[in-house]
């Protein structure tokens, strides 16, 4: 099943548990431990989580489930790795752009690096999943690109019939 970013990470994992086991466990009936890395991120499975009873009745005991957390660039078929920036871009706004483009939940990753400060430059930004993310794992690098923005002179100089220079009197 696909990660659904309109749901919480907890709900996504619970949906995975339920769909795999033909169950309909409610969110208040179980709790998940922090994820444990069991293999390299490219392996399936690469993560284990311990499921324990929740605040609501219905289950006792614990069980460990294993599954594959997704690499950050695997939640879309064709991941975008270059992001257009400008002078108004901040790391916060870039993070939102990355989340949208890569279909990620902003709570599940952080970004670091320095944005381009002038036109026609690029920089590398590291996107790292948070250690406790139930859905994503690892880190990727994307490019922040502040391209040259050229203004058409004919647009900039809309008034072409200029007032003359004043006479010297």
């Amino acid at each position: 099943m696909q990660v659904n970013i309109s749901k919480s990470p907890f709900q996504n994992l619970l949906d995975l548990v339920n769909s795999t086991n033909g169950l309909s466990i409610a969110t208040n009936q179980v709790a998940f431990s922090a994820p444990t890395v069991t293999a390299a991120e490219t392996f399936d499975p690469n993560t284990s989580v311990t499921v324990t009873p929740g605040v609501s009745a219905g289950y006792s005991g614990t069980v460990e489930v294993t599954y594959a957390r997704l690499r950050l660039d695997k939640n879309v078929a064709t991941p975008q790795t270059t992001f257009i920036t400008n002078g108004a871009t901040t790391l916060e706004s870039l993070k939102t752009d990355i989340a949208t483009a890569l279909n990620l939940l902003e709570s599940e990753f952080s970004i670091s690096g320095t944005l381009p400060v002038v036109q026609n430059t690029t920089s590398q930004i590291t996107v790292t999943s948070v250690l406790t993310s139930l859905l994503f794992v690892g880190a990727i690098t994307v490019t922040a690109d502040w391209p040259i923005v050229l203004i058409d002179l004919a647009t900039a100089v809309a008034v072409t019939n200029l007032n003359g220079f004043d006479p010297v009197v």
């Binding site: 026609n120 040259i148 050229l150 203004i151 058409d152 002179l153 004919a154 647009t155 900039a156 100089v157 809309a158 008034v159 072409t160 019939n161 200029l162 007032n163 003359g164 220079f165 004043d166 006479p167 010297v168 009197v169």
Partner: protein, 176 residues
């Protein structure tokens, strides 16, 4: 707007463009190049006598080109110096006259030239011509001037003997 002689001719033209296009942002001299000036024939309704094309420097903020029309100052008509006479002295040069005219009348020196020769002796005059350099962005035409090297005696006379005054000077007798 008045030409500002602390700026280059190029910058003065960009200032004129900015004055007419206040919301277009600043265009710097390193962002565009200028064509030669094309002469326009002014009409009663439109006194603009010049057209010039700005072309964007590659990848430096702008693209494309645009032609603007404006009026260059006619040195013979639009620059009023009050007098044709320029008094000179022994050490006066064409360069120093050009500096004087630039400073006094707010003219951009790089756009002007002086031709002719200066008087060679006291008490003599000569004709010199202030004209726009070829392809000047700011000026057209020329202005005839007279360089005068006054006779020192004449100068003194002019200074000490205004018209209708007397050369018979008398000290007043102190009152007792």
């Amino acid at each position: 707007m008045l030409i500002n002689n602390s700026f280059t001719a190029f910058q003065n033209l960009l200032n004129l463009i900015a004055d007419a296009n206040p919301n277009s942002g600043v265009i710097n001299t390193d962002q565009v190049t200028l064509s030669s000036v094309t002469v326009l024939t002014p009409t009663q309704e439109d006194s603009r006598n010049s057209q010039i094309t700005l072309t964007a420097v590659n990848n430096n903020g702008f693209t494309g080109s645009v032609a603007v029309r404006y009026k260059r100052l006619d040195l013979g008509v639009d620059v009023n110096m009050g007098t044709q006479n320029i008094n000179i002295g022994e050490n006066t040069t064409m360069e120093s006259i050009l500096n004087h005219l630039s400073t006094t009348y707010g003219l951009v020196k790089e756009s002007l030239q002086l031709t002719g020769s200066l008087p060679s002796s006291q008490g003599s005059t000569s004709n010199i011509v202030l004209s726009a350099v070829p392809d000047s962005i700011l000026y057209i035409s020329s202005k005839n001037l007279i360089a005068s090297w006054p006779n020192e005696d004449a100068n003194l006379l002019l200074f000490s003997t205004p018209q209708n005054s007397s050369t018979d000077l008398v000290f007043e007798t102190p009152r007792s």
